[in-house]
């Protein structure tokens, strides 16, 4: 028999449990409590939701088998072109690939970054999008197809840019912050940004969360009428919504007269907003697609009003899955920035100096980006070569497109838009319910009984 344990619980003589950290109060949570206590301001950052979410990774394609035959890679055509805005616009926008570049402002991004995005997208026959702050000459010059955003702030808004855009996007919300306005801290408001936005240099700029001259779908219908009248009914008009109530928001956008509906899930990035907003408002991209498609189908508008899906699109597989669930195209933002050099491990030493690490850098609002992308400091911005950056983006878009075609051919599709939900199964019960496809190996689609 051994001796009774030391009553004083001496760690030298008594077996101990290993130290256990709380799952609720994990290290990140503790660090945030300390940060808040020290600074008295909420955590502001860029990017989209970082928490783990049900996503396209939780879906698989079935491929071809006895009942469906595949197409021969490299020999049998698999079309990728898409036309956006065929409902009302006399000049719809024609893209060679169904992958567009999402709205990102000059101001949040450097002029070099905007130029790189324009070069890369143009090389692949797709579009880029302006952002909160208006259209610059550089981005118009380097983007063959440019979508002009109409945002609540209307910074830099003018009818000449409206008329020289290829499409118009009325932004109701974005996935990172449905219901939130914009924020650009003073560090990034240099003289050029300030003058484009009619604001004093160096002040914190607050963008409104609601449009100044309309609220609700009935007003929006009249706003769209005005935009069409100003541009002689030529331009496709998109309505961009943050994924929150995608069924109703899509239906109301169609009612208001949209040619294209853009649904942005919570993984979609922002230049800067409160972390609490990014992580706790809105729904994942995967959960939004089928509901948006259902609204279009019930109105007999599927493929007539086009649906663009964004938020966490990273690969041709993500594109293929979004299209199979009913989208007409996707948009990328974060992935495009990574392609041109954002968060590159080659800059690790500099990320360390900023108190972060490559892959985690998200203090885009502070304007100190060593990659020269989310900054207005000339010495940093000039590090980004727009030609090289454009080339990298074009390469990345080409790879995504080839991946998309590979998956489409494997499922026997000669056009990527022929991908369908029946080509998919889900790996998790959650994804099966959200995507409305069976759990792999079963006939069970949770929620379909209702």
């Amino acid at each position: 028999m051994s001796e009774p344990a030391d009553r004083n619980n001496n760690p030298q003589s008594t077996p101990q449990t290993i130290p256990r950290k709380s799952a609720t109060f994990d290290d990140y949570t503790l660090s945030e409590i300390r940060r808040a206590a020290a600074t008295g301001i909420y955590d502001i950052r860029g990017g989209g939701a970082k928490r783990r979410l049900p996503h396209f990774d939780d879906l698989l394609f079935l491929g071809a088998s006895m009942s469906r035959y595949p197409l021969e890679g490299y020999r049998e055509r698999c079309d990728t072109a898409v036309v956006l805005g065929s409902r009302f616009a006399s000049k719809p926008i024609e893209l060679r690939i169904p992958i567009t570049i999402a709205g990102m402002s000059f101001g949040s991004l450097s002029a070099q970054a905007k130029e790189a995005l324009g070069r890369g997208a143009s090389a692949m026959g797709t579009s880029t999008t302006t952002g909160d702050g208006g259209m610059t000459e550089e981005e118009r010059a380097h983007s063959d197809k440019l979508v002009y955003q109409v945002l609540p702030s209307r910074y830099g808004m003018n009818p000449d840019d409206l008329r020289r855009a290829d499409a118009i996007e009325v932004v109701v919300g974005q996935g990172a912050k449905p219901g939130g306005g914009g924020m650009l801290l003073g560090q990034k408001i240099n003289a050029r940004v300030a003058s484009m936005r009619t604001l004093p240099e160096g002040i914190d700029q607050r963008s409104a969360c609601r449009h100044p001259d309309w609220t609700g779908p009935d007003d929006l219908a009249i706003k769209i009428l005005e935009l069409r009248e100003i541009t002689a009914w030529e331009k496709p008009i998109y309505v961009k919504i943050g994924a929150a109530r995608p069924y109703y928001d899509t239906a109301l956008s169609v009612k208001a007269g949209a040619d294209v509906v853009v649904v942005d899930g919570m993984q979609g990035g922002t230049a800067a907003t409160q972390d609490v907003f990014i992580e706790h408002v809105g729904i994942p991209t995967l959960a939004a697609v089928r509901e948006a498609v259902r609204a279009l189908q019930e109105l007999d508008m599927h493929r007539k009003v086009q649906l663009i899906v964004s938020g966490g699109i990273r690969s041709g597989a993500d594109v293929a899955k979004a299209l199979a669930l009913g989208a007409d195209a996707v948009s990328i933002g974060t992935a495009a920035l990574v392609a041109i050099g954002d968060n590159d491990p080659a800059l690790e030493e500099e990320y360390r100096k900023l108190g972060t690490t490559a892959g985690a850098y998200d203090d885009w609002h502070e304007g100190n980006d060593p990659a020269g992308i989310t900054t207005q400091r000339p010495e940093l911005a000039q590090r980004l070569d727009p030609v090289q950056g454009g080339r990298r983006l074009a390469n990345y878009l080409a790879v995504m497109t080839m991946e998309l075609q590979t998956l489409a051919r494997a499922n026997g599709k000669s056009n990527v838009l022929n991908l369908e939900p029946e080509d998919l199964v889900a790996l998790t019960v959650e994804a099966a319910a959200m995507a409305g496809v069976p759990l792999a190996g079963t006939r069970w689609i949770p929620g379909s009984e209702a």
């Binding site: 604001l199 002040i203 100044p212 001259d213 005005e226």
Partner: protein
């Protein structure tokens, strides 16, 4: 007007036909008859023409105007002269919400009263209202002038940036970060010119001046109560 205006009759022409005719014109004077409160009338004009809307206009009349002089003989709806760049819009009656919202330049005159959010997010436009303005007028106003001969509703100039507000009557309340400022001779001169351009013969000395206290220009936890 030196020449007889060209009549465009909304009783017979579609909105597109009326606007296309106005947008294609490079000079001259036009009258839109029987407007019937139609929306988006005379929007997107880009030349120094004169347009009279002979009656009431709906939403966004004169929206994004450049160079043209537009007069509405009746009332106008929401967002009249929204995002105006230059030229002038005059309304003889009253207007609804969001008058000259985000306007970048030009002159907007309302002889009657304006509803809520007149001059919201204005970016350089000059606005003169003969009557009263509703609540939250000049909300987030960035640049330009809002002149009110009557009274202003609650929360005037909330979150205002560098725009200037002149009110002759009573102000129900000021919004966050808006404060009264001294009306010096230089301000009276600016105001006098605005009143003359708008066609109002009143004494600038009778107005009070309001603008940004600039306390919200940088985020601080100590100003939390104001957000």
């Amino acid at each position: 007007m030196t020449t007889k205006p060209i009549d465009l009759d909304s009783a017979f022409l579609s909105l597109r036909e009326v606007n296309a005719a106005l947008q294609a014109a490079t000079s001259g004077a036009f009258r839109v008859l029987n407007p019937g409160g139609e929306h988006a009338l005379a929007c997107g004009l880009d030349a120094a023409i004169e347009v009279t809307i002979d009656g009431h206009a709906g939403y966004y009349c004169g929206g994004m105007n450049k160079h043209a002089s537009i007069t509405v003989s009746g009332n106008a709806g929401t967002g009249c002269a929204e995002n105006i760049m230059s030229g002038a819009v005059r309304v003889r009656g009253d207007v609804s919400q969001s008058l000259a919202a985000t306007g970048h330049g030009g002159l907007v005159v309302v002889e009657g009263s304006a509803s809520a959010r007149a001059g919201i997010s204005m970016k350089g436009v000059d606005i003169v209202v003969g009557g009263d303005v509703g609540h939250m007028s000049a909300f987030m106003a960035q640049a330009g002038h809002l002149v009110v001969l009557g009274d202003a509703g609650t929360d005037l100039g909330d979150s205002i940036y560098e725009a200037e507000i002149f009110v002759r009557g009573a102000v129900a309340s000021l919004g966050a970060d808006c404060e009264e400022k001294p009306l010096d001779e230089e301000h009276k001169a600016v105001l006098d010119l605005l009143l003359q351009r708008a066609g109002f013969n009143v004494d600038p000395a009778a107005f009070r001046r309001y603008g940004s206290a600039r306390r919200l220009y940088h985020f601080s936890v100590d100003h939390m109560g104001e957000y």
